[in-house]
């Protein structure tokens, strides 16, 4: 069975775990990103998808192609999984990081600066790792996910999600405001 066949076969039935050393992500002369997998296949503008975007950001990164639809693009087939993408070479790691940063708009809340209540609608100001944001919360208790004892994901009225990684480590004022929200 040649390499290409093996790759094809693997993508249809088994998960294929890639050695970080056999994956190279690089920017071509045309300024587009390419990903070469085990010198077998080069993917143009690959997609890097986290398998466990909430519980483990770095493990099991899926490398995929792109499927072109009439009006949009969708996730294409998987070429393999990286157990830990941080083990990629420096250039590859940097490009993957940029792509992940672009794909995952997942602000982490560092502090809750204010909360105002208008007949069941709460307008809060969150300080996040992506900057300060005014957030409107409605029926907040139906839009909260508790992960473990102290991690909280809050979805706002516009469908954006905010991650409080450890509510116990927020400053006391933020904790008191969080208690008001929840």
């Amino acid at each position: 069975m040649d390499k290409r066949q093996r790759l094809q076969e693997a993508s249809s039935l088994d998960l294929r775990y890639l050695d970080p050393e056999e994956v190279r992500v690089w920017r071509g002369e045309d300024d587009r990103v390419y990903c070469t997998v085990a010198d077998e296949l080069t993917v143009l503008t690959p997609m890097f998808i986290r398998s466990h975007p909430l519980s483990d950001l770095n493990r099991y990164l899926s490398i995929r192609g792109v499927e072109h639809k009439k009006r949009s693009i969708a996730m294409g087939r998987e070429f393999g999984l990286l157990r830990n993408w941080h083990r990629l070479g420096p250039e590859s790691r940097e490009l993957v990081e940029v792509e992940l940063e672009r794909r995952y708009l997942h602000p982490k809340v560092r502090a809750i600066l204010s909360v105002k209540d208008y007949s069941g609608v709460q307008v809060c100001i969150f300080e996040t790792d992506r900057g300060i944001r005014e957030v409107t919360l409605r029926d907040v208790r139906d839009n909260v996910i508790y992960l473990g004892r102290s991690r909280i994901l809050i979805t706002d009225a516009e469908g954006n999600r905010y991650d409080i990684e450890d509510s116990a480590r927020l400053d006391p004022e933020s904790q008191s405001r969080l208690a008001r929200i929840l």
Partner: protein, 735 residues
């Protein structure tokens, strides 16, 4: 369109710096910076160029300057938590800008507009869903335009009070009872004053003592009677007005256009009908009378206190502002503690019902220990919330009464001082204390009632939003009444989209003669059901015209037309009641013989007779006591009895076994005889006898003809037949 855009000055300057004086035809702001942080960028289309500026510095900085002519199309890539607008240039994808979910509608509009311009079409006007309050910018709830921050409470209240007009007499009675009750409530402290000064202190006037005690009893009885009477009348009025509003709301819901239902999930509508209309009742029966009565009491007591001794009155009122502030804060803490407890209780309940519902799976996987662990965690969560709520309540009320009691301490001290100086009597002080006691409760709870009224007014506004929505009845006025519909249907260049910017049907033209059967074929989402929806006139076409017997459908009276339509749907819908009632739904005056005749033709008679209660058998909620095939045949019997000129069969045999399908097919064959029939079916074999088949793909007619003609043509229909044949074989193997 360009003239309609309101262009901020800094945007104008920025664009002018690149293309001076050019019209800005498209403008959209993103809420993310180019580096993905929260910030601002904007995209402007000016002089046939896409200009993108980064606004995170002092002055907008040009980041992209792209001629529209270089772009073959634009697309949106959905990311996690947001999306990106991309342009396709020479087959390459170029990121234009990213945005969060908050801006997805805006950039959906931009994509449509840019694509239209790229294709050389005029700039389309695309309506964006209003997601933020136009006045204050607060994000609105889904499916509502009511902004709780900007709600004009006065106007809403006036509108609610408008419903009291038919009951003016009772309203007047309530007003009189409030005044009389308050006045009666003011009497006892005055009598107590006389009791102290003229009986207790001088230790004399036995007869006066009798009269004063009788007076106290009488005033208490009058006060309590007024209160009971007022409560009863108010409760009656609240319930009556709520009944009127619910009736009006339900009537409105029956006539609301299908577009309204497309944009409002059933759960939301039910909530308007139950919770929100309940909010109005709460407002009228409890909140408003509570507020009005307490305000009147505070004013009346205040005046009496000033009349007794204005200096002591002022002193005794010193703690009032603090009392209101402290009470608000403590109420807030208390409410939060209890909300928290209820929420934990709901989660706990959810866990238990979930766990007990899958007890077999838990045992099968030996997961009892992990279930116990999960339960323990949630139970502990509930325990701590319950303890906190009870402890907060246990602290709040004693503390509150301590604060409330501070007014009395001032009266004791200063009243005692004034008494020693000879300005006040013991009776005066006693009366003062009694009056103070009367206002302590209103002062304590009035702060809370503002929020109470606010919430009820917001609920009322959501009800009014439904009452003000567009309804079918408005479309149905003053139109042509077709007495005898022959059933000739023509679609002429029909175009339609549920959302104005997303066309579902394009250039649809065909003609069906009276009594003919038309089969609609195509993949899911091809537009089959939309053709039916337009025929039912649930929607009006955006382009072209549909004719019934040569008359444009939009000019035909909806009542006369829908009376001649019969529908058998994939999901047969029965309502709770007997089989007879369900069959006679479209013809309530049908005789038992007519009903049985219809059931016989629908192959339903035999199974109905076999039921213990025959035609009187109760079908249960949504007909859940009947099998799928039985329900379907009852629906066919209903359609036969209704005797429609135009019949719609929407996947009528999709969810039944082969034997039942055969019985239904027989029934349908009898039903369609002599009626113009539109049929949708996944099992293409069921359309074999159609006079004409129309094959749809992405909203367009791609093939039309008879079954044999299309089979010979070896096009889309032949391919679908082949897929159908192979799927049937797989089904047979698995079967």
């Amino acid at each position: 369109m360009a003239e309609c855009l309101s262009i901020p000055e800094d945007v104008r300057h920025a664009v002018d710096s690149v293309t001076p004086g050019a019209d800005i035809r498209i403008l959209a702001f993103s809420d993310l910076s180019p580096d993905g942080a929260f910030g601002e960028q904007f995209l402007a289309l000016a002089d046939e160029r896409i200009l993108i500026f980064d606004c995170n510095g002092q002055v907008p900085e040009l980041r992209t300057n792209l001629p529209l002519s270089r772009i073959s199309r634009v697309e949106i890539e959905t990311l996690v938590g947001g999306a990106a607008l991309r342009a396709i240039i020479d087959g390459h994808r170029v990121d234009l800008m990213s945005f969060s979910h908050a801006m997805s509608d805006t950039f959906g509009r931009v994509r449509i507009q840019l694509d239209a311009l790229i294709e050389g079409k005029p700039l389309p006007q695309v309506e964006e869903r209003i997601k933020r309050c136009p006045t204050c910018g607060l994000v609105l709830g889904e499916y509502t335009r009511v902004c709780p921050r900007c709600l004009q409470k006065g106007a809403t209240l006036r509108r609610i009070l408008g419903y009291t007009k038919p009951y003016r007499g009772r309203l007047f009675l309530i007003g009189s009872l409030v005044l009389a009750g308050t006045a009666a409530g003011l009497v006892p402290p005055l009598l107590q004053r006389w009791l102290a000064d003229r009986v207790l202190v001088p230790r004399a006037n036995y007869h006066l003592l009798i009269w004063l005690v009788l007076g106290l009893a009488l005033s208490n009885i009058v006060h309590t009677s007024m209160e009971i009477w007022r409560n009863r009348v108010t409760a009656w009025l609240g319930a009556r007005i709520s009944f009127d509003i619910r009736a009006q709301l339900y009537e409105r819901l029956q006539w609301l256009s299908m577009r309204y239902y497309d944009h409002h999930p059933t759960g939301t509508i039910i909530s308007r009908l139950s919770q929100d209309s309940g909010g109005i009742q709460e407002l009228l029966a409890f909140a408003l009378p509570f507020v009005v009565t307490n305000i009147i009491t505070i004013f009346a007591v205040g005046m009496v206190l000033v009349a007794l001794d204005w200096k002591l009155a002022l002193i005794s009122m010193v703690p009032a502002p603090f009392l209101i502030l402290i009470s608000r804060r403590l109420w807030f803490l208390l409410r939060r503690a209890w909300h928290n407890y209820w929420y934990r209780w709901r989660r706990f309940h959810g866990l238990v019902s979930d766990a007990l519902g899958r007890v077999k799976v838990t045992k099968a996987f030996s997961q009892q220990q992990s279930e116990i662990g999960r339960y323990f965690y949630r139970n502990d969560d509930l325990r701590s919330a319950a303890a906190f709520a009870d402890q907060t309540s246990g602290t709040y009320f004693p503390f509150m009464w301590l604060v409330v009691g501070s007014g009395s301490l001032l009266v004791y001290y200063f009243g005692g001082l004034f008494q020693m100086q000879g300005g006040l009597t013991i009776g005066d002080i006693w009366a003062f204390l009694a009056y103070l006691h009367m206002v302590q409760f209103p002062l304590n709870f009035l702060g809370q009632s503002v929020q109470w009224v606010s919430r009820a007014l917001t609920a009322a506004e959501r009800v009014f939003e439904v009452l003000d929505a567009e309804s079918d009845s408005e479309k149905a006025r003053g139109e042509i009444v077709l007495e005898n519909i022959k059933g000739e249907i023509e679609y002429r260049d029909v175009g339609f989209g549920y959302e104005k910017h997303q066309q579902v049907l394009k250039d649809i033209s065909f003609k069906v003669k009276p009594g003919q059967m038309l089969g609609l074929v195509g993949k899911s989402g091809a537009g089959k059901s939309t053709i039916i929806n337009l025929l039912c006139r649930f929607y009006d076409s955006d382009e072209g015209e549909i004719f019934v017997d040569g008359v444009p459908l939009r000019e035909v009276s909806l009542w006369s037309y829908r009376g001649k339509l019969g529908v058998v749907l994939q999901e047969p819908f029965l309502f709770s009641g007997s089989i007879t009632e369900n069959i006679a739904y479209g013809k309530p005056d049908a005789t038992p013989e007519e009903i049985m005749a219809a059931a016989k033709i629908a192959n339903a008679h035999d199974f109905i007779i076999g039921k213990p209660d025959g035609y009187d058998e109760q079908v249960g909620e949504r007909g859940n006591r009947l099998s799928g095939g039985e329900k379907q045949r009852v629906c066919i019997a209903r359609a036969i009895l209704h005797d429609p000129a135009i019949l719609i069969l929407d996947e009528a045999t999709a969810s039944v076994d082969l034997e039942t399908e055969q019985q239904i097919q027989e029934a349908i064959a009898r039903l369609i005889k002599g009626r113009t029939t539109f049929a949708i079916a996944h099992r293409l074999s069921t359309l074999r006898n159609a006079h004409k088949l129309i094959v749809l793909d992405e909203g367009r007619i791609v093939e039309s003809g008879t079954h044999d003609e299309l089979k010979m043509k070896k096009g889309v229909y032949a391919k679908l037949l082949d897929i159908h044949r192979r799927t049937s074989m797989i089904g047979a193997v698995n079967g």
